[in-house]
């Protein structure tokens, strides 16, 4: 891979233009298959570039699997799908060793990689598997490697997990623990399409031809996009805002709004701040800027924070949506920090 370090201003500008071009190509290609869901697609791309895992939540049939598959097609990445069920075993994910007879007649144990050995892994209904099975996946997510029979096997980069959850069938499921949820960069809510979008979906998917995505970005290019994005600078006041926002989700903090103090038990971790900053950098480049702005943080706040807040009893009883608390925290910080000139 070429040296990712940008050394000159001209190079920075060229890399930024290339970044935008590649992202636009990806969006276009994905848009050929996926109807609507612009914000979902954008957040997914951001997570992809940032190298973070995504938790997709939505009712069945909204195109979550199709989205990930289409991404994989457009990126020429290895795609794998695991349907999580309660009887799924860890070995079903990571792989196992099997006794293998060589042509010479010797027998040895050989590692058979599981479906986790892919670039894009779709973990459908992750909350239906047992915690033991979940942990096998989650270990791989964290370590980017799998240990089987004492042997560690690295996963090829990029390795991204797109886990899905069905919000309407929570009975008999094993919700992911907060510590595990924290490993996901984003939690993206997939909404129901509008009438026009449904029309378009019907037109595309019930005809004699179904569109498919062509490869437009290589694996190396995706990795280099991530490296370029990490070099986008963040001004002190913007970073300060991001950190204050994360702190404002903690009920014991001064900046926390009333809704946080009332309904949140635990706030977001420093990983949330990393998610905000990293996604902010990618959004800045996508927005033709070389700096992270507060509006980038605003766009990334909900997907970065919503799965990291733990509701207290009252919040659960009131069925409070953490998104509201995040919005309150953002607005209260914005009001405090927007000390404009007296004109």
């Amino acid at each position: 891979m070429a040296d990712p370090q940008i050394r000159t201003q001209e190079e920075a500008e060229q890399q930024a233009v290339r970044f935008r071009q590649l992202v636009a190509d990806l969006k276009r290609e994905v848009g050929r298959v996926i109807v609507g869901m612009e914000s979902v697609v954008e957040d997914t791309l951001i997570a992809l570039i940032a190298g973070g895992h995504v938790l997709l939540e939505g009712v069945p049939g909204l195109g979550k699997t199709l989205l990930v598959r289409t991404l994989a097609d457009a990126l020429d990445l290895k795609f794998s799908r695991i349907q999580f069920t309660p009887d799924l075993m860890p070995a079903d994910i990571t792989g196992t060793t099997v006794l293998w007879e060589k042509p010479s007649g010797e027998r040895e144990f050989q590692f058979q990689p599981g479906p986790i050995f892919a670039n894009l892994l779709l973990a459908d209904e992750i909350n239906r598997a047992t915690p033991k099975t979940q942990s096998a996946l989650l270990e791989a997510m964290q370590e980017h490697s799998v240990t089987v029979a004492g042997t560690s096997h690295s996963l090829e980069q990029p390795f991204l997990v797109f886990a899905t959850q069905n919000p309407i069938e929570m009975e008999g499921t094993y919700p992911l623990p907060e510590a595990q949820l924290d490993r996901f960069l984003f939690k993206i809510k997939v909404d129901y399409p509008s009438l026009d979008q449904l029309h378009e979906i019907m037109n595309r998917t019930t005809g004699h031809e179904t569109p498919t995505a062509e490869k437009v970005v290589t694996r190396e290019e995706i990795l280099s996009l991530g490296l370029v994005a990490r070099q986008v600078p963040v001004a002190q006041h913007v970073q300060d805002f991001a950190l204050r926002l994360v702190l404002a989700t903690h009920p014991d903090q001064e900046d926390a709004p009333d809704s946080v103090k009332r309904f949140i038990r635990y706030g977001a971790s420093p990983r949330a701040a990393q998610a905000l900053i990293l996604s902010g950098k990618i959004r800045a480049l996508m927005g033709e800027r070389f700096n992270v702005a507060v509006e980038d943080l605003r766009a990334s706040a909900l997907p970065s924070l919503r799965h990291r807040l733990v509701l207290n009893f009252e919040g659960q009883a009131e069925a409070v949506d953490p998104d509201d608390s995040i919005r309150d925290a953002f607005e209260s910080l914005t009001a405090k920090s927007n000390q404009d000139l007296p004109v």
């Binding site: 000159t8 201003q9 500008e13 930024a16 600078p233 001004a235 006041h237 070389f290 000139l341």
Partner: protein
Amino acid sequence: MTVDAYVAISPQTASGLLRRGLRSLRRRVRLLLALRLAAVGIALIAGLAAPAVLLARLSGIWYPPLLPEAALLAALVTSLLLGLVWPLPDSALALSADRRLGLADRIASAILFARAGLPSAMQRAEVADALHHLQRTRPAEGYPVRAYRATKAAALCLAALFSFQLLPIPALFLSPRERDEKALLHEQAARLYPLAQRLEDAARENEDLEAERLAGRLKKLAQQLDRGQLQKSQALVQLAQLHTDLQRAENRLARAPRRTAAQAADDLTKAARDNTASKAIQLAEQAEKSGDRESADEFRRLAREARRADNLAQLQNIASRLSDRASQLGAPLNFPPELLAALAQAFADADFNLSEDALQQLAEASAEWSGQLTQEELDALADELEALAEMLQDTDLAEVADLLKKAAECLRAGDCEGAAKYLAQCQGKLASCELGAACSSCKGGLAGILARLRGRALASPLRATGASAGTCAGGITDQPFIPLNAEAAKLYAPRTTETSGPLQRVRARVGPQGRIMAITEKGAPVKVTESRVPYYEVIADYSKAAEEALSREEVPPTYRTTVRNYFSALQSGEKPPDRQPAP
């Protein structure tokens, strides 16, 4: 992103470039800041001044007329200066500009990166991007001029202030005394306007700037009195000052103590009558000698009419008919008899137009004397001119008298052209005489107004219904009012005291606003009376002075009630309470 125009950014130049880029924004912000601060300052000052002015006007408290405007101007200048020096750090300006112009923290980030020395290429690219956007921004889009709340408040407060200052106080808020005072001032304003106009016209004709300024002041005073913008005490002060200035102008325009216009008019009328009659008799004798009995009778009849003429107009008419008849008979009168009558009329009416015409005729005629008249006839003309000069010597036409004398000398020397020149110059002198007369007339009018204002010192319940009390000896004020309840007031009526010394004018100080002329008898009185100054002249001023002393706490608290009761009793016409010992 700046792809089309690559601008290389270096750590050394970045800060300077950004500061330059922020210049237009900074100017715009300073301007808006100055405007806003000015609006706040004006709202504050006008908001404080308006009720203060209203209170002052209702209470009759004097304040310098332009003090609120001066304070407003000071507030405006201070606000503008504050706006210019208000601290505007680059970072604060950048944050504000980013927010208002939708630049997504470009400028603020660029400034921070520049300060950090631009360690990375991305930061340099960011600064270039920020500069590119700065160049394209229009400050007016992010910082429009808008009507702040302070601006609306300032406008309201200014409107209130100016209306309280300029509009007359409605009668509803005035006491009966104040209403009477206002009506009196309004009445005097109507008298003052024509005086001022006359003075102005005369000053313009004579091209006398000082007199024109005086006329302007008179007009302005009349206007202020008419609009109720002045209190009586203020009007008295200004009138007294104008009276003094008019006196000065009168002295400048006149030369020496002279006879009054009335006396000059009398003398000239008598001279015109005698001159016309004697000329008519001479012409009658000449006509008889030549056998023209009809003309002789007519001339004698004109002589009789001249002696019996009731008024100057009639006399002028007779003189004019005499001149015409003499011309018809081939014996024109070289010295027009109607000139004397015209001059008499001029002094009587203070209108020199007719005399100007007559003098012009004389000047024109004098140009033809040379070669037409004998030396004896020229000497006779010279005698007539000298006689006229004598009559005009101690009047406003003293300079005309000098010119007439010179013309007479020229005639005696046989120099008709020289005489014609001097006679032509007489017309120019009439203009200054007109001005002098106008000054005198103004001064007289002001004296009358002053007297009237001083005479009405009482509240309306005490207004007289009857005759005037007459003038006090040596006094310049009338006393037109006698209170109905006059028992105690009689105690304070002026009394003539026997003195052994001459009468003197005395300046009396009646209040902090200035001095008012008052004349009292002063000398060595045989016996002391209770008052030497008319009650009505001083009671209002003394009451006011007492109230002011009370409000300024110059009277010990234990005596305040006593003092107040004393003046209340005086004003109501009751006998004042007996002197009470202090508690």
